[in-house]
């Protein structure tokens, strides 16, 4: 993409280079370090805040974000991005909540997931078959879905918006004070993504498509099928996140999850996934989502005005992304 003017000094024996290599190969270590530092600062800023309850609340808030960031991680590995996850998650949650009373929770959840999968398939067909730029395709689909959901809202104005008890239990309650129940959804999802990316053929195809789509195609990968499957998976994950958020706030609106869209991209970027494709993983993304959540708490505790929070948020994303580009030497 860009020109590397002067590749810089390469001295394999220097300790700086060893550090750099450690960070490049094990990005989790510095990320976990940053997370620990943030927690320590939080504890210093308000002594006694870090407790089992705090841990439960933090994880409960971070998990929907981590799932949405998982959508971005998968899409970014192929060199794409999914800006429709906010709209898809809100739509799935809203559809689920409006159908729950009349149709029962199981049908409601199934319809929500199916609607999300359909939206994801449209994204995938656009990106994979018609080669529309993912940014445009998902941005446009976001608009389409938001509009359709508001039309649906008008049509369903008679039916109550009610989140089923089971989903509220999953989304908002904690067990043993520090284990949020949404871990029941998150652990299988995270395990599937992490193991799937490392061990499955499909996971390797995602990396291959992101690294070099032409090489992937020439070696026999059906790139369009990989991409269609990717955006369907992303949409289904987004729907799960949407259900959890609806369970957490105990209601659903058509823009419920919209505000998590940009943080989800940020969490994936902080977690070490390259937006240019081919580099990254889900473990880093999870830590990224935790970092963002703790940072949010810290800024609230420090009584930062909203303005300062946003500015700091932006600066941290740029700083972490810049550190990655420096360490990995790619541009």
């Amino acid at each position: 993409m860009s020109v590397s003017v002067g590749t810089g000094e390469r001295n394999p024996s220097s300790t700086a280079e060893e550090w750099r290599r450690l960070f490049r190969d094990r990005p989790l270590i510095p990320l976990l370090g940053l997370l620990v530092v943030l927690v320590l600062v939080l504890q210093l800023a308000r002594p006694g805040i870090v407790s089992p309850e705090w841990l439960g609340v933090t994880m409960r808030a971070a998990i929907p974000l981590a799932i949405l960031a998982g959508c971005q991680t998968l899409a970014m590995l192929t060199g794409g991005i999914d800006l429709s996850v906010g709209a898809i998650a809100s739509m799935a949650a809203f559809v689920m909540a409006t159908l729950a009373t009349d149709q029962g929770p199981i049908v409601a959840v199934a319809v929500g997931l199916a609607a999300a999968a359909l939206a994801g398939a449209v994204n995938g067909v656009g990106v994979g078959i018609f080669k529309v730029h993912p940014l445009i395709m998902t941005l446009g689909m976001g608009l389409v879905i938001l509009g359709l959901t508001s039309v649906y809202q008008l049509a369903m104005v008679q039916s109550p918006v009610d989140v089923p008890d089971a989903i509220e239990w999953l989304g908002s309650e904690t067990t043993l004070t520090f284990l949020p129940n949404n871990l029941l959804v998150f652990i299988p999802v995270a395990a599937l993504i992490i193991i799937g990316l490392r061990r499955s053929g499909y996971g390797r195809l995602l990396f291959a498509v992101g690294d070099n789509p032409i090489a992937a195609r020439l070696s026999g990968a059906r790139v369009w099928q990989v991409l269609v499957a990717l955006y369907v998976i992303s949409a289904v994950l987004a729907a799960l996140a949407g259900f959890l958020v609806a369970g957490l706030v105990k209601t659903a609106t058509i823009q419920l999850v919209e505000e998590s869209l940009l943080p989800s991209v940020a969490a994936a970027v902080i977690g070490g996934t390259s937006i240019m494709g081919g580099r990254g993983g889900y473990a880093g993304t999870i830590v990224g989502a935790l970092i963002l959540t703790v940072l949010g708490t810290l800024l609230t505790v420090l009584d930062m005005p909203e303005a300062a929070r946003q500015i700091l948020f932006g600066i941290i994303i740029v700083a972490v992304a810049a550190a990655y580009t420096r360490v990995t030497g790619e541009s």
């Binding site: 529309v132 445009i136 389409v144 509009g147 991209v265 500015i311 992304a321």
Partner: protein
């Protein structure tokens, strides 16, 4: 005899030149035809559509058109700016706060100051991208938070004011009631900045950088500097857009409008390639007017306003889809 053949050949070459010109600008010409078609259609379904409505159309389109020009410049240079909406909000509230309860003359200073501020903001975006080598989309996404935060620091709830001459600048019409002032402002502003740029070496560098960074670098273009300047120009047009928002509402609002999204939609419709290096300024501006007319028509047709979001999204996807299908067919042929 020779003179006659010369005339014939020159005539043919003239026809060829026109043909070439039309072929090169066929996307823009198509947009012009589409705009005329939409205007005719609007007149058909709303017979009362006349000069005042055209003036409103121009006022409504002005900030979006300036945002589209801003986005077009940076995309042509091979980048993308997702902070357009935030920069417009920041410059708009700054101008509104500074102009409130001040003299009419002071407003001139404010306008110039805000334009410089826009250039500085854009240059900061560009410099971060060039220095850190982080992808444009990540940097501008993150910077959109920074500029939105700064907007809240300047003004945390809608307020401020604007000088009377400044508000008058874009309302009403000039010479004939069919020529809205806002349109004239748009043409003048874009003409003054873009036409000299397009013809300069800098403009060529912007296109060269966007179409192939490495080739541009090897041909002696200072790629980093060009990129920073392109972002600075984007900042300048965002500031113009922000000033247009202040002028049309008479106040500033710290909530960024949907300008980033609309600017991306407009440039894609306007024939600017997201890959960089291709496209112009006229196409995106025409696209903004078309999209605004679509919205007017939907109101006339009494379509549920929620559907207009759907239709906007469908148009955005549809146009890109069409473009890529055409491109694929060309490759196959």
């Amino acid at each position: 005899m020779t003179a006659a053949t010369d005339v014939v050949s020159s005539r043919r070459s003239m026809a060829e030149t026109i043909g070439d010109w039309a072929r090169r600008n066929r996307w823009t010409l198509g947009l012009v035809a589409l705009l005329v078609g939409f205007l005719a259609f609007t007149k058909l379904i709303g017979p009362g559509y006349g000069a005042p409505e055209i003036q409103n159309l121009a006022i409504g389109a002005l900030p979006i058109a300036l945002a589209a020009v801003a986005q077009a410049i940076v995309v042509i240079s091979g980048g993308i700016d997702l902070s357009v909406g935030s920069i417009m909000a920041l410059t708009s509230v700054t101008s509104a706060v500074l102009m409130m309860d001040q003299s009419e003359e002071f407003a001139v200073v404010v306008v110039l100051g805000v334009l410089l501020m826009g250039i500085a903001i854009g240059a900061i975006n560009g410099a971060i991208i060039v220095i850190t080598r982080v992808p444009d989309i990540v940097v501008t996404l993150a910077m959109s938070f920074v500029w939105a935060g700064a907007t809240l620091l300047v003004l945390d709830s809608p307020g401020g004011g604007a000088a009377d001459w400044f508000k008058g600048l874009i309302s009403g019409s000039i010479v004939s009631e069919w020529i809205p002032r806002a349109l004239v402002v748009l043409v003048v502003v874009v003409g003054v900045v873009w036409i000299p740029l397009r013809r300069s070496i800098l403009g060529l560098s912007v296109y060269a950088t966007g179409s192939d960074r490495l080739a541009a670098f090897r041909s002696g273009v200072s790629v980093g500097r060009t990129k920073i300047i392109a972002y600075a120009l984007t900042g300048l047009f965002c500031a113009l857009g922000g000033l247009a928002v202040t002028a049309s509402t008479g106040a500033g609002s710290p909530v960024p409008g949907a300008y980033t999204l609309q600017s991306v939609a407009a440039i894609v419709l306007g024939g600017v390639s997201l890959a960089g290096g291709r496209g112009g300024i006229l196409g995106p501006i025409l696209a903004v007017f078309i999209l605004q007319l679509v919205r007017t028509d939907l109101t006339f047709l009494e379509v549920n306003p929620n559907f207009s979001t759907v239709i906007q999204g469908v148009i955005l996807i549809g146009v890109v889809l069409l473009g890529s299908v055409l491109a694929m067919r060309r490759v196959r042929a």
